[in-house]
């Protein structure tokens, strides 16, 4: 590949998935997404290599790489590490410049982010110690009902009722769910309750940082249609339809930041 072309990559190693996005100047050139393993260096590299392979590129073709997510602290392949809060902000702004509010729900945390017209973070709030209200929480619940994680949202949307659920603790919510099933509650109504309890928790985060239109939903959980609906109801907003897989937004933002750093450091051809 010609060195006269400008390729930049962002690699987002989260707790459940590793994602990579390659940008060429102003457009998304390639992406990669793999489940995260225990070795975050390997997970990040696998996602990056997947993206490189699909584009017929080599790592040497990349002018700059930015690492993000929890794996960013051990990303020797990256030129720089940036937190995923900043990356989601840049990624959402890159795709939809009118977005001012981002809900990011990943494997182990959820974030309420306010941004300005340049995609700079103005304020943010995150869930505290607990994993309730995260992708991992939904994964545990999918396990309880023995359904696929991807089907969870659709099942919740078929509910005729909303069963109130605890959103305090993933482990306790699991035992609460089992007892609700034993009491004869319908699975779809329980799942609907779970989605609403998480949505209310997210709404609580926004009471700190505020909401301004347009609203964007990123992270792996954003693919869950039930969660999108529950959040729209809880926040009384309409969420912008993403142009790409919302799970890739962090990596996309990292790639945008990589491009900016490359420009700043004179690596742009």
């Amino acid at each position: 590949m010609s060195l006269s072309r400008n390729f930049f990559a962002g690699v987002d190693v989260g707790s459940l998935a590793a994602k990579a996005v390659i940008l060429e100047d102003g457009k998304i050139y390639a992406t990669g997404l793999v489940p995260s393993g225990v070795n975050s260096v390997e997970s990040g590299l696998t996602a990056l290599n997947l993206a490189l392979g699909s584009a017929g590129l080599k790592k040497e073709d990349l002018k700059y790489i930015v690492g993000t997510g929890y794996g960013r602290v051990s990303a020797p392949y990256a030129n720089k590490a940036v937190t995923e809060i900043t990356c989601h902000a840049k990624g959402a702004n890159y795709l939809h410049p009118t977005v001012r509010t981002i809900i990011d729900m990943g494997g182990q945390d959820c974030k309420a982010i306010r941004i300005d017209q340049d995609g700079a973070v103005v304020d943010f709030a995150m869930n505290d110690k607990c994993a309730a209200g995260t992708g991992r929480f939904l994964e545990v619940m999918a396990g309880v009902f023995n359904v696929k994680l991807d089907d969870l949202g659709a099942i919740a949307l078929s509910a005729t009722d909303t069963v109130p659920m605890s959103s305090t603790c993933t482990v306790f919510a699991e035992s609460e769910t089992i007892s609700l099933v034993a009491r004869g509650e319908k699975p779809e109504n329980i799942l609907n309750g779970i989605h609403h309890s998480i949505a209310n928790r997210i709404a609580g985060l926004f009471s700190r940082v505020g909401i301004e239109s347009d609203v964007f939903f990123s992270g792996g959980v954003a693919k869950n249609s039930g969660m999108k609906t529950a959040i729209e109801q809880a926040l009384k907003v309409t969420i912008v339809k993403p142009e790409i897989d919302p799970q890739l937004i962090g990596a996309l933002g990292a790639a945008v930041i990589a491009r900016n750093f490359a420009k700043k450091e004179g690596l742009w051809v």
Partner: protein
């Protein structure tokens, strides 16, 4: 993977040997030569964990070895446990107090006053040869045991646990109760009903609900301070006079003045003259009791003040400080961020409200010393209503030219958790600078979750 260890470089020895001695309460003196020996030979053997390079625990790969007072505070910290044991062997009284209070009456009564953190340091320092993981696990064990023995989860419970277990020769539990946090009140109650009846208990009852302007409240607290001194005298068998208290107030005022001067010098500098760790360890010396020896702290503080003045004059940049760092002010009790990792992310901690409240509050030297001390204590800015505390904090934030404020509260610290949001709301309203609230695990072990939020805040700034 082998542990990486930090060692002080011989290249800096000669310069260090030119620095001042440390003089202790009993008149004994430790020379820089002896300090150097301890830091390079004895200390690493006894406390290898302190010399382990571990960024997650805040232990840096390199330190400011050209700042002699930084080495001296390290020395005072390392020798703390053995110095307490020696003090007890010589018959000195030791009292358990709480954070956030000054110790003038204890000094007057010739009693070493130890905050909860220091009680833990004394206990854990008695075991040698531990690496960082072993030390952290040991502290965690103490805390878990305390949660069960005392039936509540809060910070600073470890100190009560050690006293209840009879692990330490503490003579009296005598904190100012209800000052700043509810945990101490819970702890006192747990102690009252605990199995160890050997250790005397005295509550210095602090009037609640911001009573500083009311003469009855000042008189009531002054009366409590008189009873405190009487209780300390019963333990030690000595007779403390008003004159002793006045002398103690003058001594602590000297520390408070020097500490304030040092902090303001630091803030006045265009370039931070030390990193966050060194700034805090030096400013905290204004708490003359910080290392269990008032005179030792004072002697290091005097030297530190002069060194910082020199550094500011010459535009010296502190070790590991990045260019144009984002200046962060930390609020909350018994908390802090990982300084080295935050500095790597482009920030520096320029202040904390916690101990600073009483360190910067002078006590009137004319008139009844008990009344004056009571008045000053009731006026501690940190203990005032939300609006007043925020107003004082804003002054400190402006003086320190902070770019952002993080309020951290430990899980279980209900008082600070409750006031965090309204205080930050006032600060944001009045200054417009970004703020952030962080709740943290009591054991301080969720490094990535915590640091991720701090780094995002720094990036936002």
């Amino acid at each position: 993977m082998g542990k990486q260890l930090f060692r002080y470089s011989e290249a800096n020895k000669e310069k260090f040997l030119e620095s001042d001695n440390i003089t202790f309460n009993d008149g004994s003196v430790v020379t820089p030569e002896e300090i150097w020996h301890y830091l390079t030979v004895e200390g690493p053997e006894k406390y290898p964990g302190t010399f382990e390079i571990n960024l997650y625990q805040g232990n840096r790969a390199s330190r400011d070895e050209t700042l002699p007072t930084s080495l001296k505070t390290h020395y005072l910290g390392l020798t703390f446990s053995e110095r307490m044991e020696r003090a007890k062997d010589k018959g000195k009284s030791i009292a358990f107090i709480q954070g956030g209070q000054a110790v003038d009456p204890y000094t007057a009564a010739d009693t070493i006053a130890l905050r909860p953190f220091l009680v833990g340091q004394w206990y854990h320092g008695r075991e040698h040869g531990n690496d960082i993981n072993k030390s952290v696990l040991r502290r965690k064990q103490s805390k878990e045991k305390a949660f069960h023995d005392m039936s509540f989860e809060a910070c600073q419970t470890g100190g009560y646990e050690h006293i209840q277990s009879g692990n330490l020769r503490v003579d009296v539990v005598a904190p100012y109760t209800v000052l700043r946090c509810s945990d101490v009140s819970y702890g006192v109650e747990a102690h009252r009903h605990g199995p160890n009846k050997e250790v005397k208990l005295f509550n210095v009852d602090y009037p609640l609900r911001y009573q500083a302007s009311k003469p009855w409240a000042v008189e009531y607290f002054a009366q409590n301070l008189r009873r405190l001194v009487k209780t300390l005298d019963e333990v030690s068998g000595r007779k403390t006079t008003e004159d002793d208290l006045l002398k103690a107030i003058k001594l602590h005022n000297e520390g408070r003045r020097l500490g304030t001067e040092l902090a303001e010098l630091w803030w006045s500098a265009d370039i931070p003259p030390t990193n966050s760790d060194d700034r805090l360890s030096l400013v905290s010396l204004a708490n003359l009791d910080m290392h269990g020896d008032v005179q030792a702290s004072l002697s290091v503080l005097k030297e530190a003040r002069n060194i910082i003045a020199e550094r500011v004059k010459n535009g010296v940049k502190g070790h590991a400080v990045t260019d144009n760092p984002k200046r962060i002010f930390i609020l909350g009790s018994c908390v802090g961020i990982n300084d080295s990792r935050s500095e790597d992310a482009g920030a520096i901690v320029v202040g904390k409200d916690d101990q600073w409240s009483h360190c910067s509050s002078l006590v009137e030297e004319e008139g009844d010393p008990f009344y004056n001390l009571a008045k000053a204590t009731l006026e501690y800015p940190y203990e005032q209503s939300i609006e007043k505390r925020a107003e004082w904090t804003i002054e400190q934030i402006k003086k320190s030219r902070a770019d952002g404020v993080i309020f951290i509260h430990n899980w279980g610290c209900n008082t600070q958790a409750a006031v965090a949001r309204p205080i930050l709301d006032v600060i944001k309203r009045e200054t417009g600078i970004p703020t952030y609230i962080q709740e943290r695990d009591l054991h301080g072990l969720q490094h990535e979750q915590e640091q991720n939020r701090v780094n995002a805040f720094i990036e936002m700034l």
